[in-house]
């Protein structure tokens, strides 16, 4: 979808409202399941909203439309965010979100490539998405196709050596149809990223690997849209957007809390979260 920046006053509030609604979906589905990863889903949801409702071309009635753009959730544990987005986009009924992680639901604890309409990769083991995206981007170029590949990684995920194998290869092959987004929420499962393996200077690392880099506030919708537009213009280099976010963003007691990497809210916590995320009537 092409957009003039003059559209922003109309487009931005709508996207923000959508993201807010999807935040409710995220905490509700994880509560109903009794397990899940709310922190990393809430940090990623703004960018995901922009990708699906501003940038990407797809057809929910034809999930395998060959010309579609592909989004790969490499940080697969944040799938509550992707499920919420796919439901909102019409890939499957919203009702299914209530059955997240239940034995007969196609919304499993991590995305199943074959079962989820709209899913482009199987998640759950970190470090693989950029490589899968690399293969897709190379295939697209081989076919002279115009569809693009977007891969979202976690920052802790950048500990995995495979990420850098893919980064080197993508730059070597000048894949400007491949865009990476690092959801830089500063936390891994147990503690801050910088206390485990220091990632900074992260932008410089990606630059050194041959990528064009941009760093933004990942909760500022205007910055997100601007970088998505800029990414389209880059030629000859892949683009990485380092999206500085807050883990658990939108729910005060989850923000910056490592605890909510992988645990569901209690009933009281859910009530408080929904109150904070209440949508205007």
């Amino acid at each position: 979808m092409k957009s003039e920046t003059s559209d922003r006053p109309q487009v931005v509030p709508k996207l923000q409202q959508t993201a807010r609604r999807l935040r409710r979906d995220i905490v509700e589905m994880i509560y109903a399941a009794g397990s899940g990863h709310p922190g990393g889903a809430l940090s990623a949801i703004d960018f995901l909203t922009a990708l699906y409702f501003y940038r990407m071309r797809y057809d929910p009635k034809n999930p395998k439309w060959p010309e579609r753009d592909r989004f790969l959730l490499s940080k697969g544990h944040a799938c509550a965010a992707l499920y919420a987005v796919l439901a909102e986009a019409g890939f499957f009924p919203r009702e299914e979100l209530k059955r997240f992680r239940k034995i007969d639901s196609f919304l499993q604890g991590h995305v199943d490539y074959n079962e989820v309409p709209g899913a482009e990769m199987t998640g759950g083991s970190l470090g693989m998405g950029l490589s899968v995206g690399l293969g897709m981007a190379l295939a697209a170029r081989l076919d002279a196709a115009s569809w693009r590949v977007y891969v979202m990684l976690g920052d802790g995920e950048c500990d995995e050596g495979q990420v850098w194998e893919a980064a080197m290869a993508a730059a070597h092959h000048r894949l400007d149809n491949l865009t990476a987004i690092v959801d830089r929420n500063g936390l891994q499962q147990t503690r801050p990223t910088e206390d485990t393996i220091r990632l900074e200077p992260l932008e410089e690392k990606w630059k050194a690997f041959g990528w064009d880099t941009m760093t933004i506030d990942g909760h500022d919708m205007i910055q997100i849209l601007d970088t998505l537009d800029l990414a389209l213009q880059q030629k000859g280099k892949p683009v990485v957007i380092i999206s500085r976010t807050v883990k658990g963003k939108g729910v005060s007691f989850m923000e910056g809390a490592a605890d909510f990497h992988g645990r569901a809210p209690t009933k009281d916590e859910l009530g408080q979260a929904l109150a904070e995320l209440s949508c205007p009537p």
């Binding site: 199987t122 899968v132 076919d143 290869a169």
Partner: protein, 318 residues
């Protein structure tokens, strides 16, 4: 004069042929295309050849990405590196997704030779066999390799195929009618059955000749598809001969021997003896010396046959 062809050479030529009829074929390698012979395809179809360097985890997932985008990817490296360095990637992105990725490794087994243990894959079949959705093929010679490549390309789903480094005798001199999951009966016999794959098929045939001169008629089955194993052929061999010997260039734990023992144990229990690497690592040496040192020759197979026949007669006497 018997002809000898390295299965990896047959692979390289087969890929080049396949590339002519399959426009969706792409080939990936990890800086080993001179050895794996994917370079033959690479020279002919450079646009469809991707050497992604010494980065096996990346290569395996890129292959998945190609398959998800409508391509037919063949991905090659040495058998120690796939599945060795990228097991999780094969497991999750290739097998769990049930993608049309064909992993063909070379330099498998102890006959890699002088490079030593780090280059001698003795566990790869066992590792991949334990992964759901994977088909596992170990061709015996050049012609069977070519037939298997084409069969793998036709097959819908992930395939693992392991080939050797050294030249091996041609067994299928008049071409190979290969079918995934179907064993080939190379020699009939009623006293025992030798079920072999890869380089051990030629050794099995030699063993059968030696045994015949001693009055023992051994059936020889080429079980090129280790997964799914041809359970019917195994059960029939057990039923009709009452004594089984398996032979593989691989650890006796988890590979062909285990696959056969699983069927035998559950359908028609008879004495069984596995010939293979006896759960040790290899070392540098010439391929022939190593096969002798580690018990992988026709002599070892013949001795194993005599052993199981002995156990068979003990059982009958009870």
């Amino acid at each position: 004069m018997s002809q000898e062809v390295a299965t990896r050479d047959a692979y390289g030529d087969a890929l080049a042929k396949l590339g002519e009829v399959r426009q969706d074929l792409v080939v990936l390698d990890g800086d080993l295309s001179g050895s794996t012979k994917t370079g033959v395809f690479g020279k002919k179809f450079p646009d469809r050849f991707f050497d992604l360097g010494i980065a096996e985890q990346n290569i395996m997932c890129a292959a998945a990405g190609f398959a998800m985008s409508g391509k037919l990817p063949f991905v090659s490296t040495f058998a120690v590196f796939a599945p060795g360095r990228c097991f999780d990637q094969i497991r999750l992105q290739v097998a769990y997704n049930n993608l049309n990725v064909k992993i063909v490794t070379t330099h498998a087994g102890i006959t890699t030779g002088e490079d030593g243990a780090s280059a001698q894959a003795l566990e790869d079949v066992a590792a991949v066999r334990a992964v759901a959705n994977m088909t596992v093929i170990v061709p015996a010679d050049g012609p069977e390799t070519e037939a298997a490549v084409f069969a793998a390309a036709e097959h819908q789903g992930p395939v693992y195929m392991r080939l050797g480094r050294a030249k091996v005798p041609v067994i299928y001199k008049d071409g190979c009618d290969f079918k995934i999951g179907r064993a080939s009966l190379l020699r009939d016999g009623k006293h025992a059955a030798i079920i072999a794959c890869g380089v051990m098929v030629a050794e099995a045939l030699e063993a059968a000749d030696k045994l015949s001169s001693r009055g023992i008629e051994a059936r020889v089955l080429d079980m090129a598809t280790v997964k799914p194993v041809d359970a019917e052929a195994v059960a029939r061999a057990a039923e009709e001969t009452g004594a089984i010997v398996t032979a593989e260039e691989h650890n006796i734990l988890g590979g062909l021997g285990s696959a056969v023992a699983e069927v035998v144990g559950e359908t028609k229990p008879v004495p069984i003896q596995r010939v293979g690497i006896r759960d040790v690592f290899g070392r540098s040496g010439s391929p022939r010396e190593l096969m002798e040192r580690y018990g992988l020759t026709s002599k070892d197979i013949a001795a194993a046959v005599e052993k199981v026949i002995g156990r068979k007669s003990q059982l009958m006497r009870r």
